[in-house]
Amino acid sequence: MATIINADTSDGLKLTSDTSGQIDLQSAGSTKATIDTSGNLKFDSGFGSVGTAYGCRAWVNFNGTGTVAIRDSGNVTSITDNGTGNYTVNFTTAMPDANYSVCGTVGTTGGASAGWLNTGSNATSGAADTTTSCKVCCNYDTFNLYDPTNMYVAIFR
């Protein structure tokens, strides 16, 4: 059960209330979005049914060359320049645990072929992800490190 706000095609707005604590947004009697009692936002944005929206918890776009600088970001206090091609992304609001997914890519203007983003507990980043930060590296060839002109990182959880 849920409190339902329905955009009815005949009667306009229809409200059905209960004490479940869940809210459903409906169009013509079909549920298109829900906020459940755990705070999960679920939506049907072409999925065919409502599904949980797993949002991007943090993101950053920065220049890793010259005077390293953040172009823009969300939920990020800073990046730490640890060395060539080796950075830490520091979160404003901590993640609920360290089992999030780090995604991203790098862009370079030359000098390195097939650069890629490397993260987590591995040979070149050397540190496991934590709830407050994650280490990301720009690698090319056989794990050589490289400063990218564009580094894009997004964290999903």
């Binding site: 390293v68 823009d72 970001s73 990020v76 206090t77 800073s78 990046i79 730490t80 640890n82 060539t84």
Partner: protein
């Protein structure tokens, strides 16, 4: 502004603040949050950090 601190292996790490964060916080607050506990650090002007990164791995804390 930047925060530089001494890493456990004698090198130097540079904290680059997010402009968004500095709208509501100070560099001192950022240092308290993102500098590892017990590390020597200093808040410096951007120009203090070399833009030539050719020998980035050779930077040491002095």
């Amino acid at each position: 502004m930047r925060i530089i601190y001494e890493t456990s292996d004698g090198g130097v790490a540079v904290i680059v603040p997010a402009p968004e964060y500095l709208l509501t916080h100070t560099m001192e607050e950022l240092a308290a949050k993102d500098v590892p506990a017990g590390a020597n650090y200093e808040i410096v002007e951007d120009s203090v950090v070399p833009s030539d990164r050719a020998f980035r791995g050779a930077w040491t804390w002095a």
